[in-house]
Amino acid sequence: MKAHLTRRYIFSASHRLHCDELSPDENRAVYGKCNNPHGHGHNYALEVTVSGQVDPSTGMVCNLAALDEAVQREVLERFDHVNLNVRPEFTSEVPTTENLSEVIFNILRQSFSSAHLEKVRLEETAMNSFEYVGGAELRT
């Protein structure tokens, strides 16, 4: 039997949305307050969904402690309480939550192999959330 397991994590980070290829006026027009020069921050909620066959001997898709450890090491230690703009992942990309979702998905796909990574869902605020499923269609 195949099941999907989702775990939720919280981290806090700052960012500024700014594109060097746009003029200052264009940046302000596109990004609004998010273009303010000194940046701002969010409490992000990250939901990681993995899937796989339920192991009859454990009743589990994967060891939850292993998933927590991978997310802690690869995502939370990288992005919690940092300025996303100075991270190497965002030297050439704007740290929008769209891009952050893709970055986190790709990091976890490489670093966690105990179950199939299905989806990353990222809430930037309680009002905005973004989902990335590795380019696939989102499942209802």
Partner: protein
Amino acid sequence: MVYLTRKCEFSASHYYHNPEFTEEENKRVFGKCANLNGHGHNYTLEVTVKGEVDPKTGFVVDLKSLKDVLNREVIDAFDHRHLNKEVPEFATQIPTTENLAIAVWNRLQKHFQVAELHRVRVYELPDLFVDFYGEA
């Protein structure tokens, strides 16, 4: 096609233990969950059914029937009970959230003829849930 989701809650105790494992293996694999005195959770269950809207009633499914089935098959069986000791499925399976979602699916599936069971979601904690879509 419209998807309808009904939410309900139940509280239950459980522990994780595989009799084929040594005590050391049980502790290593299941951690604190292997404590044989058990522990408990407030579970939240979300059941999603899908179907065409009946033009006469405007319903995908009769919500009262759905509530009755949920109460009879899940709440009466699981709420304020010890899953390992009181729920037949868990005499032989470990009552993980994965297996709970599968057990709920199996209990509900036979009751849907017009609408179709789409997804069972079980929250063990606000930050941990399992989805089961009936996939082999």
